[in-house]
């Protein structure tokens, strides 16, 4: 069965790129434009991985990660954060919020796929 990945990003360009790349690699992809949408989408869809941008309107990525981790069912859900900053403090912040890992933008498609495989097979 295909693994389902949710990409959360307010940038349609970024969502499109993530979706296209991952679909090409055999994943099913659903999209959300902010943390709030992601929360409601995940309530009904079972996802195997969340890839979230950090800086988003309505609900930002770190809040999303914390909220997801607070839900027992998602305690072990892999969550990757997309960050433009290769900044260690950002990664530490994400990690303490509960992020599984990170992807630094810009990334090339191969990199994205390999990171995704690393955390959700």
């Amino acid at each position: 069965m295909k693994k389902k990945v949710m990409t959360v990003d307010d940038s349609r360009t970024m969502r499109d790129m993530v979706s296209f790349t991952l679909r090409g690699a055999g994943y099913e992809v659903i999209e959300a434009a902010d943390g709030q949408q992601a929360m409601s989408a995940i309530a009904t869809a079972k996802v195997d991985l969340v890839i979230t941008d950090l800086n988003m309107p309505v609900m930002d990525g770190l809040t999303l990660i914390r909220k997801l981790r607070a839900i027992p069912a998602h305690r072990t859900l892999p969550i990757l954060m997309l960050t433009t900053e290769a900044d260690e403090s950002k990664k530490a912040e994400g990690r303490s919020a509960g992020a599984t890992g990170w992807i630094v933008k810009p990334f090339n498609p191969d990199k994205l796929v390999s990171v995704v495989q690393k955390v959700c097979g």
């Binding site: 307010d10 940038s11 349609r12 360009t13 970024m14 499109d16 790129m17 296209f20 790349t21 090409g24 959300a32 434009a33 902010d34 943390g35 949408q37 950090l54 800086n55 988003m56 309107p57 309505v58 609900m59 930002d60 990525g61 770190l62 809040t63 981790r69 305690r75 072990t76 859900l77 892999p78 969550i79 433009t84 900053e85 290769a86 900044d87 260690e88 403090s89 950002k90 990664k91 530490a92 912040e93 990690r95 509960g98 992020a99 599984t100 890992g101 990170w102 630094v104 933008k105 810009p106 990334f107 090339n108 498609p109 990199k111 390999s114 495989q117 690393k118 955390v119 959700c120 097979g121």
Partner: protein, 789 residues
């Protein structure tokens, strides 16, 4: 990265939207009342443009966006006070960003120095903020090339994950070698890696899954995995969410696999797990030259490279957490105003960018859909027409079904049309910027009021509104509004008001630009018109006619051509643009109180509700919106004006009669209006006309087919269509008919004249201003009853 190029268009489309978001946000940004949601929205817009630009390698653009973003970040954090100067700088930066995007879209490099001034201005802002945080310092020194560095990570393709690896490596290097792995037989050309992986017990809770890491190791080569269960607790003490296992993986991999590839597998967990990696190579004697590549492939990565193959090199690393994740360690050289501050600290605004429940569709696809629906409307009308002859009482179900089909066709058509509909706000939202610039240039104070932004109209119409509206607003500010002093002298508020409104009215969209300025100076307009030979000296014109002179080609009242309007593109161009869309424009002015420009446009350019009429053997379609009523006149109602034309007394008003068969040279048509019918029509500016026709056949929706695209332009004809029976019918242009009849009816009252000879005999239209029957447009539509037959 070729895969990414297909997203470029999305990126540019989205960036255009983001630029608009940023611009409207910046225009609302004012000192003292800073809306943080707004600021966040602007920041995000710039941030997203930068992020996407990085993906496509638009380095200049990214570098500039970064400068812009840095300042926005400062504003967001309250480090940079909002001043008028700042807002101006940011608006300029937004413009420059738009230019950079345009260059990126064209695939050209922006000319060197495009961004220099703006970057300098942005950096000045930063330096000032540093000099006196939290306070406005407009007079700070203009900063000689401030040493603003920034962590330009985004450009650093090679550096993706690089510093994370460096951190891991640092941890490795700090650690002392521990233990020795016994040397086995390593096949030629291979390296044997031994990885001992002892995850932290709560690893799963960060979403990491050791299985996938082991699997990833397997992908690198032949791996043998040994699982250690020694610390596995008894069942009673077992916590399913904790990990109690550790693994030893022996990996035989080719020279292309180096330490980075293996480190990469544990990238996210290196800090919390005990990972020991060691490598051994085959004996040196058989070391092939290619093997050295493995060493150079991971330069400086570690002493584990096969550069020292003689001994089983051992590199063990109990990964102590010291260096990498300390939050205090900001990237060196981070921008001054940016600092190590978290980017996402602020409260999340609700200024979402583009709505999420939209899809982006190529306009061609929609056009095809519109066209197909159009054809379907025709087919449906055709079936309906054929079945009209059926004997009543029979085929009841068929007729009912057909009725349903008719209704669904109509709904389908409306739905399809609504896909193309856009609120005019997309045009209106560009106007505050324009007003601001015009006000600055003319030194006038202007308040722009808009209403009816949500009024929807076809996309093509929206697009074509930009230029006319821009010109009309410029015109209102430049010519209409007085300067603040003059306004005070006449008892008006210092700031002039320009009101831009949109509304639906009788199947059309009506847009008004109203100003409370000085109104049209009729004496001046008239004298200018006479001076330019547009009007005969001594001609008597009504006020309305004089006002409308400003639409004549070559007309300008400005004594001096100002920087704004009056650059040779006059209101005549506006009128021409509007007419080409099937629209009309008129002006209504009261001296001393202001002017009102009214323009009306069809909601869509594709389908029309029409009345089919017959003249002789020909069929014509009259737009329903033009029709007031149809009547059969009594002989007493008709009056002939000598050498002029026939008129009819209709509802207490004399209306000129136009015999369509004469105008178009149609034989075998009814000439006597008392035997045929008169359809009373009204043009957009309120002038009335009585069309003499043989018969009114009925109302029908018709699909507009451009005559110009398929044939050529004809006077008095707006377009063509295909009727239900497959015949082609021309759609009449009432205003055009009026023009034709004014020039033609008097000269050829008797015999039929061909359309060609008629249009050829037209005198230049600008010699006579249009007489306007109705003084004020606003009273028009409601005051007449419409009685479509």
């Amino acid at each position: 990265m070729d895969d990414l190029s297909r997203f470029k268009q999305t990126y540019f489309d989205e960036s255009a939207e983001l630029l608009a978001v940023a611009e409207s946000g910046l225009l609302r940004l004012a000192p003292g009342e800073v809306d943080m949601d707004e600021v966040n929205a602007i920041f995000r817009a710039v941030h997203s443009i930068k992020g996407g630009g990085g993906a496509f390698g638009f380095n200049d653009l990214v570098a500039f966006a970064h400068e812009f973003e840095t300042v926005m970040d400062g504003v967001r954090n309250g480090d940079i006070p909002v001043t008028t100067i700042l807002v101006d700088t940011l608006i300029r930066a937004n413009d420059v960003l738009a230019r950079m995007l345009a260059h990126a879209a064209d695939g050209t490099d922006a000319p060197a120095g495009t961004t220099d001034d703006t970057v300098a201005a942005l950096r000045r802002v930063l330096v000032q903020a540093d000099a006196a945080p939290g306070t406005a310092v407009p007079a700070a020194p203009p900063a000689a090339a401030p040493p603003t560095h920034y962590a330009d990570d985004e450009d650093d393709e090679a550096g993706i994950f690089g510093d994370a690896l460096a951190a891991i490596q640092a941890a490795r290097d700090d650690a002392a070698p521990a233990g020795t792995v016994p040397a086995g037989t390593v096949p030629e050309g291979k390296l044997r890696w031994t990885v001992v992986f002892r995850p932290k017990a709560d690893l799963l809770l960060s979403g990491n899954e050791p299985t996938y890491m082991l699997r990833a190791l397997r992908r690198l080569g032949d791996a043998e995995v040994v699982c250690h269960l020694d610390s596995l607790p008894g069942l009673a003490a077992l916590d399913a969410e904790l990990l109690h296992m550790s693994w030893t993986v022996t990996l035989l991999a080719g020279p292309e696999v180096g330490r980075p590839q293996i480190d990469d597998v544990f990238e996210f967990v290196a800090d919390d797990c005990d990972i020991q990696i060691s490598v051994e190579a085959p004996p040196p004697a058989v070391l092939p030259a290619g093997r050295a590549d493995a060493g150079t492939a991971s330069p400086g990565v570690g002493p584990a490279a096969p550069a020292e193959p003689a001994l089983p090199a051992v590199q063990a690393a109990p990964a102590a957490p010291p260096v990498p994740s300390a939050p205090t360690q900001a990237a060196p050289g981070t921008a001054a105003g940016n600092g190590g501050k978290p980017r996402t600290g602020g409260p999340a605004g609700d200024h979402a960018g583009p709505a999420a429940h939209t899809i982006r569709v190529d306009l061609d696809k929609i056009d095809r859909l519109v066209n197909m629906v159009g054809e379907m409307v025709i087919t449906q009308a055709m079936i309906a027409e054929h079945l009209r002859d059926l004997p009543p009482g029979q085929f009841q179900e068929l007729l009912e079904g057909l009725e349903g089909l008719a209704q669904h066709t109509r709904e389908l058509r409306e739905s399809v049309m609504s896909i193309r509909a856009q609120p005019v706000s997309s045009v209106f939202s560009r106007m505050p910027r324009l007003v601001r610039e015009c006000a600055a240039m003319t030194g006038k104070e202007v308040v722009l009021v808009t209403s009816g932004e949500t009024t929807e109209v076809d996309k093509t119409v929206v697009e074509n509104l930009v230029d006319p509206l821009t010109h009309m607003i410029r015109n209102s500010i430049d010519h209409g509004l007085e300067g603040p002093e003059e306004r005070e002298r006449t008892g008006k508020p210092r700031a002039g008001t320009v009101h831009l409104s949109a509304a639906h009215r009788s199947g059309r969209i009506v847009i008004e630009v109203t100003d409370d300025g000085r109104g049209i100076n009729r004496a001046k307009v008239l004298s200018k018109a006479i001076e330019k030979g547009l009007v005969q000296p001594g001609a008597t014109l009504t006020d309305e006619e004089i006002d409308n002179l400003i639409f004549l080609p070559g007309f300008t009242t400005a004594d001096q051509v100002s920087n704004l309007s009056g650059r040779g593109v006059g209101m005549d161009v506006v009128r021409r643009n509007i007419s080409s869309l099937g629209g009309r424009i008129g002006v209504y002015s009261t001296p001393g109180e202001g002017s009102r420009f009214v323009l009306s446009l069809p909601l869509t350019l594709a389908v029309l509700d029409g009345m089919v009429i017959s003249v002789g053997e020909e069929r014509f379609v009259l737009p329903l919106t033009n029709i007031v009523e149809s009547l059969r006149p009594k002989p007493a109602d008709l009056h002939g004006l000598v050498n002029k034309c026939d008129v009819i007394m209709a509802r207490g008003e004399y209306v000129r009669l136009v015999h369509l068969h004469r105008l178009f040279g149609i034989p075998k048509a009814i000439d006597d209006a008392t035997r045929g019918l008169v359809v009373l029509v009204e043009t957009e500016d309120g002038a009335r006309l009585g069309l003499v026709v043989d018969e009114v056949l009925g109302q029908q929706q018709v699909v507009i087919k451009s005559l110009e695209a398929n044939f050529r332009r004809l006077d008095g004809v707006a377009a063509a269509t295909i009727l239900g029976d497959g015949r082609v019918a021309l759609i009449l242009d009432v205003a055009g008919l009026r023009e034709m009849s004014r020039h033609g009816a008097g000269t050829a009252p008797g015999g039929p004249a061909s359309a060609n000879s008629l249009s050829g005999s037209l005198p230049p239209p600008q010699t006579t201003p249009r007489p306007t029957a109705r003084p004020v447009l606003a009273e028009r539509p409601e005051s007449h009853q419409r009685q479509p037959v």
